[in-house]
């Protein structure tokens, strides 16, 4: 928690001020019963209206002051908590942007989003409440006890004595409750999971006539959820009656001993009334304590999750050399490269060696999971190799500055990512300072210019998040244009022509050839490999064979099998 809350330091002054204001307000309230006692003993008992007016006036003034102070504290507390949240968000987002892909593997995307949004809001609210209520409640209890002792210490003992027991009781219930509610959450997730599966698999369930089976499953889970919820709530609902019982017993004791002392002359009526009043006020505040603890434990979980991100080291070390884009020729060589994802045993790639000369096109084929995409991702240094090295123009690319390395690479991933914005904006992602001419040129190369010109606003057409209103093939070509606009020395295409028809694909491959960049092309289609200088055939992370189409046809039985399965269809394996 320390790391996260150290971001409060900058707002120390405002925080202290907010706390001081809150304490002032608290003091006023704590003195109310005390003043009441004075009024009864010195005013009523002696029939002195002036004393009543005096103390009454003080009471009114105090409450006005408390109100003003409370309003002011709200501003300071809001300032502290909102600025704290702002700083934390900036810091966290900056950290995430510095992450390497290995880091991303250990934090799923959805969890990072939750951390950035819900968790920070949770902390922000805790800080706000902390400055206003959380500290207030325990202080109120302590203050009430102290004031009660000031008023009459012997009577105060009866009321103060019950507090440690109640605190212990609350603590125990809370501990147990936390465990019970966790199991409620698990059961609830289970029920929701079954519900979700049924919604998604509805057709299948109907066709296989499994409705009764599913209802049985659901009913069982739903019943378990109910039992757990009832158990958890029964425990926690016990607390209010118990607190009531104990505190009220204290009040009876105060009345009894108050009378005894009154007769012995060591207590006054006003004092008894004041202490009973302190006791009933404490009773009200007690109910807040558990809410505070619950909130605090949530904040603790949130801060731990945020910290986990903040303390993660960006795992890639940047290199020194920063060659200009124009001086990179684009030769790629893999030298006995082995790669495994962090925290895994099995290598994804083992002992891969090959070389691509500037301007060459290499096709990469292999089954799912054979490591094709991973191989591509090693080139822009999304990950570092476990053994062996990747070199660009003969220099180990770990020695290159990441930015200048990546500036020379055009990468088109398999899963299409478009950003919300216009068509031109999306192409411009590839090169921020690209002119309209350059954008159009890239679009032409990617065979999408004509399609774009048919859009309602041409290059200014807005596409939705993840590009909903474009077809699969259009999206693929747009992502290719994005990579081409930067005129890369190295082009990495990860199976990104699957939704293109044969003619478009052929035109695209021709255009790419003319660009004269080193191209690595992952594909499933024998037809796409026609233009390539060489084919790398991967199997289970190993380089099974490499060579031209004709060479592989002779040497590799697997390649022959692939060719056979796609043959005789005029090159259209996927209609």
């Amino acid at each position: 928690m320390r790391t996260v809350f150290s971001y409060l330091k900058r707002y120390r002054a405002a925080a202290i001020l907010a706390l001081a204001l809150m304490l002032t307000e608290l003091l006023v309230e704590l003195f109310q019963p005390y003043i009441m006692a004075k009024m009864i003993d010195e005013g009523i008992q002696t029939r002195d209206t002036e004393v009543v007016f005096l103390w009454g006036g003080i009471l009114l003034l105090c409450s006005a002051a408390a109100f003003a102070v409370g309003i002011l504290s709200s501003f300071y507390a809001a300032h502290v908590s909102q600025s704290f949240g702002f700083d934390l968000r900036e810091k966290l987002y900056g950290k995430i942007q510095s992450f390497s892909f290995a880091n991303f593997n250990s934090f799923p995307e959805s969890s990072l989003i939750t951390r950035l949004t819900n968790d920070i809001v949770q902390l922000q609210n805790t800080v706000f409440m902390g400055l206003r209520i959380m500290l207030r409640a325990p202080l109120f209890i302590v203050g009430s006890v102290i004031m009660a002792f000031v008023v009459n210490w012997q009577l105060a003992l009866w009321f103060a004595g019950s507090i440690p027991f109640l605190a212990l009781f609350l603590y125990l219930v809370m501990k147990r409750g936390e465990k019970l509610f966790r199991s409620v959450q698990q059961k609830l997730d289970r029920v929701n999971a079954i519900m979700q599966q049924n919604l998604i698999g509805m057709r299948l369930i109907r066709v296989f006539v499994r409705m009764k089976h599913e209802r049985g499953r659901f009913d069982k889970s739903s019943g378990e959820l109910m039992d757990r919820t009832v158990a958890a709530l029964r425990l926690t609902e016990m607390t209010t009656p118990v607190i009531l019982l104990v505190m009220n017993a204290g009040i009876i004791a105060v009345l009894w001993f108050g009378k005894v002392q009154l007769e012995a002359g060591s207590a006054s009526v006003g004092e008894i009334v004041a202490i009973v009043n302190y006791a009933t006020r404490t009773l009200g505040v007690f109910s807040l304590i558990s809410m505070i603890v619950v909130n605090f434990s949530k904040a603790k979980a949130s801060s731990e999750r945020i910290e986990e991100v903040l303390v993660t080291d960006a795992s890639l070390k940047d290199g020194e050399a920063a060659p200009a884009r124009s001086s990179i020729a684009g030769e790629i060589s893999f030298d006995h490269v082995t790669f495994r994802y962090p925290d895994t045993e099995e290598p994804i790639l083992s002992d891969i060696s090959f070389r691509a000369l500037p301007g060459e096109t290499l096709a990469i084929m292999g089954a799912t999971g054979s490591g094709k995409s991973t191989l591509l991702q090693l080139i822009p240094r999304f990950y570092d190799t476990a053994e062996g090295s990747v070199s660009i123009d003969g220099q180990d690319h770990e020695g290159l500055k990441m930015e200048s390395l990546r500036r020379a690479i055009g990468y088109v991933p398999q899963d299409i990512v478009l950003f919300s914005g216009t068509v031109a904006d999306n192409i411009r992602v590839g090169k921020e300072e690209a002119t309209m001419e350059e954008i159009i040129e890239a679009a032409k190369l990617a065979q999408i210019h004509e399609t774009i010109m048919r859009f309602p606003n041409q290059y200014d057409t807005v596409i939705g998040q993840m590009g909903v209103n474009l077809s699969g093939g259009q999206k693929q070509r747009l992502t290719i244009a994005r990579a081409l606009v930067r005129k890369p020395a190295i082009l990495l295409l990860d199976d990104c022509t699957s939704a293109l028809d044969v003619r478009t694909e052929a035109a695209l491959l021709d255009a790419l050839k003319a660009m004269n960049c080193t191209t690595l092309l992952v594909t499933q289609k024998v037809s796409s490999t026609a233009n390539s200088d060489r084919i790398l055939l991967l199997d289970d992370g190993r380089l099974l064979a490499s060579g031209s189409h004709t060479e592989l046809k002779q040497q590799s039985p697997l390649y022959r099998k692939i060719c056979q399965s796609q043959s005789g269809k005029a090159g259209a394996a996927h209609a």
Partner: protein, 609 residues
Amino acid sequence: MLEPLKEPFRYEPPKALAQGAGDAGKKKQAKAKDASGTLKRIWRYVAYHRTKLAAVFAMIVFSTVLSLLGPYLAGTAIDRFIEERNTGFVPFLLGMAVVYGLHAWTMWLQNIWMIGVAQETVRGMRRDLFAHLHKLPIPFFARRQHGELMSRVTNDIENVSSSLNSSFIQLVSSVLLLVGIVGVMLSLSPLLTLLTFLVIPLMVFGMKWITSRTSRLFREQQRNIGDLNGFVEETLSGQRIIKAFSREEVVTRAFHERNKRIHESGFWAQAISGFIPKLMNGLNNFSFALIVGVGALLVIGGHGVTVGTIMIFAEFSRQFTRPLNDLANQWNTLLSAMAGAERVFQIMDEPVEAADESEAAVLERMEGRVEFRGVSFAYQEGHPILRHISFEAEPGETVAFVGPTGAGKSTIIGLLCRFYEPSAGSIRIDGLPASGIRRDSLRAHMAFVLQDPFLFEGTIRDNIRYGKLDAADEEVEEAAKLANAHSFIMRLPGGYGAKLKPDGGGISQGQKQLIAIARAILADPAILVLDEATSSIDTVTEIKIQEALQRLMKGRTSFVIAHRLNTIQTADRIIVLQDGKVTESGAHDELLVRDGFYSKLVNGQVVLT
């Protein structure tokens, strides 16, 4: 005073982890439209537990009366035994102890009984909703987003559950308490009561002032947060691109701008909403000062007011603003729960699939002869999806449907398994009209292999066994072997016992298809429906799938929504669908010479994505 909560352990409903429960909660502030209707329907569920509820109600009445009696007795004790020194103090204190004890006891009883009622009620709603989902016609699910449906069946029901738990008791007891306090106060001193009432207009005015500002500010803050969420989501899922194209600085700048906007609106929203407890506090303090001051003057002046009365009023005046505040809060929770319940009931009101005809036949065996005669179909009048479709398939034949997206291929399949009924024409199976066969019996002879094969969370074995629930382990393995799935399953850690994650995660798309094929083999249907994957599956797996499919299709009438030319070529009949009409039909060789859509397709001049 702070706003004391009645329930120290406010039950915070655990939010569903799925489907961004975070903002769903905020959106649900919508009010119920037909409040009395919804209330009646909730009542129907609650009414099962009528006796228990009546007991809860009785307990609330008792505990409220007892809670009023407590401070009253304490005040009386001061007046009669401490100031005036009457005798009988001990029995009086014992009486007080009994009242306090009974109060705690009735409160405990009302709580635990209510938990039972609320949870049973919600369980009943869940059960009915779930059963209803199984009766809804399939087009219903096509029209709805899963996320939205999920939020109804999870968050909305949770909402009902938690507010039944807490709001009901609080609402009833707040009203009773309010009435009781006012009654007791009036009987003790009408003048002091009037003073206490002074805070009401101040409170109403103050709350109005605050909420009219905060509702606007919160909306703005919500919008800004939503904006930031969207931005974060997009940039994180596009992280690969941002890194590859070195866009880190650009997005960080854009983030900063959005973050600043949240900071701005968040500050005002939080600061002003923070006035609410301060206002309540201030008013409490104010009325406390008034009551004690004026009360003291009345005691001195001898207007029938005693010190005990002051003490009772000092306590009651605080208790008086609390139920007022509670009422407002609980009323809002209750309204949002009603809106939630209404959304649940909306689903339950959706018309179910038409019942089977009373004389519908149960087929023991099916040969698999299928005939479509002049079948048309429209979801909406005037927007036909299919027009006059006619074709037939003899037992064991393979029919391939080819055509662009939206041509009506899936609709034909849907009609075949009677997810919907044709608006004109007829479908005959083994010579019988399909509408005369019971749905479950019809479907029991069919099996599906869909393009995104749905796998349940559970073991591989369970997933295959879904095709035949009583299949022995050997049968499951036999089916997997025929489906070319056995070898990859054996390589998984745990083999057939390997657990799949929700939505079948952990294995590849192609492997999912193999499992779906194994499932279909185990089901041993007369009619097979196959929707081929459009996404590219790696070649080696593809070969395995093709082999397995050939084994599966052998001897069964098969309908294939085809994306792969090699599947289409081997079909007995190819039906080309365009715009809901059959434009070409025949075998591969026949169609190839016709120079229509099909031959263009084969020559790569059109694509089907």
